[in-house]
Symmetry: C2
Subunit: 167 residues, 2 copies
């Protein structure tokens, strides 16, 4: 009986989509909990010389998640006007939105990702994302939408580790 339970493979794609979204959602919750406990003033400070400010980390997360919308076919980038400044290195002289504005952008984008993601079937997650051509995808089937979620989940975790130190 135990052997039977172990070797069955129930709907691999849907199981794996759940695994990836469990990690994504858990890290988003953790990020939001840390962010919620950090004041706007804390976000403006460096915790040590040459480390990115919390507000830069937040803006950088906003533009990376915003970029996910066209890559996943979820729509156009919502806030193109901040794209450039948060892909360049942190610079206290840069003109950037307030922490309150970035907190709102962050909520909005993650909401749009969640609403659109909920519509995709496991099979659609295994289809190509919009940064790869159909020809390349035929040779490299790992360049699918779910892989975008995996790499962005790792990216979220990387900066969560840093935001935890901003806290």
């Amino acid at each position: 009986m135990e052997q039977l339970l172990e070797t069955r493979a129930p709907d691999t794609a849907s199981t794996i989509v759940k695994m990836v979204f469990d990690s994504w959602n858990s890290l988003l919750r953790d990020f939001d909990a840390v962010l919620g406990s950090v004041t706007d003033d804390q976000l403006q400070a460096q915790i040590a010389p040459n480390k990115n400010r919390g507000i830069y980390l937040l803006g950088h997360m906003v533009v990376v998640h915003d970029d996910m919308l066209p890559i996943l076919g979820f729509g156009q980038i919502m806030y193109p006007e901040i794209n450039e400044v948060f892909k360049a290195p942190d610079n206290a002289e840069s003109k950037i939105p307030s922490a309150q504005t970035l907190r709102t952008y962050w909520r909005n984008i993650n909401q749009v990702i969640a609403e659109n993601a909920a519509q995709l079937t496991p099979e659609q997650w295994m289809q190509r994302h919009n940064s790869v051509s159909a020809e390349d995808f035929a040779r490299q089937p790992h360049r699918n939408k779910l892989n975008v979620m995996i790499t962005r989940t790792c990216h979220l975790s990387y900066h969560l580790g840093q935001m935890k130190w901003v806290q």
Copy 2:
């Protein structure tokens, strides 16, 4: 033709195992590159008050990866004697191994994981890991070996973000 290429689903499990290991291996390489550029003296310092020292981060990574061995059925924990100290909070008074010793442990454990991981088929990655019972796994098929890799990949990325700030 494009439609045909898009809707095929070639060997989902093996594609996804590749996706997860691409992220795992890429983050391990990044972690090792950062670690290789940090001196033993840098590892002993806090970059700001109340932040974990680099040597603590390294020791913590060693014990978390060491724990993966029994969970994935790859063998026993290699360095049980340091398990407790690196699961407790960082404490400059704790008796811990030297940075050189931890660097060696880190290489050894990741080597054992890589060698064992290379032996598993995609179907075996979808089987249960050793921290879940066969009964629970029957109801929760996402609690499989590949999910251990996904969560530990996120964990690696989290602390890579911090080690990057130790650098």
